[in-house]
Amino acid sequence: MTLRAAGRALRPAGRAVALAVAVTAVVFTATELLPGDAEELRTTGRASQEEAAAERDRLGLDRPAAARYLDWLYGLARGDLGHSLAGGRPVAALFAERLPATTALVAVALAGTVLLTAAALAVTYLRGGRGGSAATGLAAVPQPVHAAVLGAVLAGLLGWLPPVSLLPSGGSPLSDPRLLVLPALTLALPSAAFATVLLRGALGDVLRRPHVADARLRGLPAPLVLHRHVLPFLYAPALQVTALLTGGLVAGTALAETLFGYPGTGQLLVSAVALRDVPVIQAAALLPAVVLLLGMLLADLAARRTTATGPARHPGPALPDAPRGGGR
């Protein structure tokens, strides 16, 4: 019995680990497409043949791709992310420097997402489960448009904020919270719209269940109906959507940080892509995927705990696609 329970808890964990390893293969393969290799990037093609050969030997580039992949994977498992091709610093140190800023940004954006989504869902609830098209539209609009409109309105027309979040080097993002506003809103707005679209369907489904109508007919006050008969059914999907969005927010930092000049890991990824700095790209690409898989795993385990009879769970990390509404 306990063994079976342990097995039930371990299975999603095993699945998440398997997916994470598969993701490393995808990332490695994508960076392998690069014409030319690390030696050419380091020596910019000007090295003599012997120098080039020595450099290739040092970087292990003449070994087959599979062997290099396994080396990289072994390094990852030990927490060794390799060295940046531009500058030669350990990738782990580059990340350690920038992670606090990105963590602060993602945390603020996630809090904003949760608040905005809760507000939008409250409106949906008051309207009896029907949603407007505003959330669908906002979720479809590309993120740079959110950034541009927020920048034009808050920094331009109203003049409340600086349009660029230049953080003094070594400064903490929390020393001037104003710098967080534009990138965090840029991240939070589309993700809240997306969450609203996804959860609105679940909310509508719960509201149509007979026990909700029954509770209302028994004369329970609306807040109590919400608390006892509606919200418990929304925990599982809400947790899943939160996990998914956290991964999405981490990925979205690439755009928000670059546009507003906020020095975090997203900006690191974009500059590494420009420099073709493969070890940094590999690590930065893994970050959102790992956050997403870890979040999904936690959401899955938490959902098993809290709701025994919740709505049908979607298997795997691949819950959402689309604004399809709850009707069908």
């Binding site: 014409p35 609009v141 590309p142």
Partner: protein, 275 residues
């Protein structure tokens, strides 16, 4: 009286349904023609940088003193063409995969599903960025849109195809001795028309988002090319001086995204008899 009210509300519902489709069609037709309506050459400096709107420049000028209106009119074609292409490839690949999975079931279906889980664990933007390291921007957009979108298409198509496989007319066709491809094309696909069309709208939205993101990050069209997404990043530093240089390209870009998403929603929800 009540009949006319019913008629009115019916036509309002119909207007709500047709508006996004009409907007999408108008945008797709007009955007490529915009270049010819531009009052100034979109790539030439015609006034001081960040001139506010007024006079000969209704939307002012941008970072290099180029006319914003002209650049907006000229700047959508490449973005839309690329998004359409990427979405088309994604839908075709996804539909093919979905049909294979739904028809064969079993191991093939599980394989397609696992592949989807894997690709969906990597956010599309990150996938596109990693691919853009090695591939030209446009190719990276297409490949990323396919990798991020085809699994989702395959999922919905596969589910429906597995369901249709057990329906009478499909059984009849199989009994008649028609080949599997013939059954899929003549009996299954026509029933998936609406599903695939709605899905295509969503794939188009994703493709537009990826294309815009890569362009904003400098991995798409290169300056001085007029491009809505590129204009957003070019003109952000001047938000305080000429916010219209930022809002002007944002509006059509948002309009396209809204029109495609709403069209997809409309197609998915239109009652059968209304089409």
């Amino acid at each position: 009286m009540s009949r006319s009210v019913a008629f009115l509300s019916l036509s309002a519902a119909r207007a709500r349904r047709t508006a996004p489709v009409a907007a999408a069609v108008v945008l797709l037709v007009c955007v490529p023609l915009g270049r010819y309506a531009a009052p100034h050459p979109p790539e030439r400096t015609v006034a001081a940088p960040w001139t506010p709107p007024g006079g000969r420049h209704p939307l002012g000028t941008d970072v290099l003193g180029r006319d914003v209106l002209s650049r907006v009119l000229a700047g959508g074609t490449q973005l839309l063409t690329l998004s359409l292409l990427a979405a088309a490839v994604a839908v075709v690949c996804g539909t093919a995969l979905g049909l294979a999975a739904g028809w064969s079931g079993g191991r093939v279906a599980r394989g397609v599903r696992a592949l989807g889980d894997l690709l969906l664990a990597v956010p599309a933007l990150v996938l596109a960025l990693v691919l853009a390291t090695a591939l030209p921007g446009a190719t990276a957009v297409v490949v990323a849109a396919v990798l991020a979108g085809a699994p989702l298409t395959a999922r919905v198509v596969g589910t429906q195809c597995a369901y249709l496989r057990d329906s009478g007319h499909v059984h009849a066709a199989v009994e008649r001795g028609e080949s599997t491809p013939a059954v899929l094309v003549h009996e299954v696909l026509p029933n998936l028309r609406r599903l695939v069309a709605a899905d295509a709208g969503l794939r188009l939205v994703t493709a537009l988002q990826i294309a815009a993101a890569l362009a904003v990050l400098g991995l798409g069209p290169q300056p001085p090319e007029p491009d809505w997404a590129l204009m957003l990043s070019e003109n952000l530093p001047g938000a305080a001086l000429n916010p219209w240089a930022l809002l002007a390209p944002a509006v059509p870009l948002a309009g396209c995204a809204w029109a495609f998403a709403a069209t997809a929603g409309t197609v998915a929800h239109t009652p059968r008899e209304a089409v």
